[in-house]
Symmetry: C2
Subunit: 123 residues, 2 copies
């Protein structure tokens, strides 16, 4: 996967937006044992990007909204390829569900590892 | 399940909002073979409620937003209890993905059947 491809069309980030909100809501729902609907903002996603190695792969000048889109697109890319599952993502997010920055930093790290392993297999 | 319980707190409708957008986005993504992010509006959900028997269970005077919330809460309630699966919902929605009213009318009917079967088992 080349990082430029992630935002080639808006579809991946668009699907990722719905996926990320769903995963995060499900993580909170399971953690607290009662249904909750949460939205993850670009501020938290952008900070999670900065704290993970994903930042190094992105263009130098990129605003917060675009960083959020990249994060959503990357998670969607790995999930659609079944490199991560709904349950594995939810488990990671639930560990730090009160801190979206920490939760998504951990998820981005896991997703990047999964992609690295996958690309290794391709070679 | 008593219909009054569905909106007793906002959590179920809130979780349902993220679930419904995710299911609909995944249905479109699978149908068209490329990632898409879609949001389902209250107008479509309210019309789907009117076309299904679910309408008969709701209070007589209820606005469009509340009808949408009821639809989201009902789908979330059945999904969280594993009476319907992600895949079964996505399959139903994908059949009429270009017409959200038809897609969600079919989904609400299926969800109501699943709940009826489940309540029957409880007796």
């Amino acid at each position: 996967m080349r990082v430029e491809e992630l935002l080639r069309d808006r579809g991946l980030a668009g699907f990722g937006d719905s996926l990320v909100n769903f995963l995060y809501s499900l993580a909170a729902t399971r953690k607290y044992g009662r249904p909750m609907g949460l939205k993850v903002g670009n501020r938290a996603l952008a900070e999670a990007v900065r704290r993970s190695k994903f930042r190094e792969l992105l263009p130098r000048r990129v605003d917060r909204k675009t960083m959020g889109d990249y994060a959503e697109a990357l998670i969607a890319y790995a999930w659609l390829r079944r490199l991560v599952t709904t349950d594995s993502c939810v488990e990671i997010l639930a560990e730090n569900v009160d801190s979206p920055v920490d939760a998504f930093t951990d998820l981005l790290k896991t997703v990047m590892e999964a992609l690295k392993g996958h690309e290794g297999e391709d070679c």
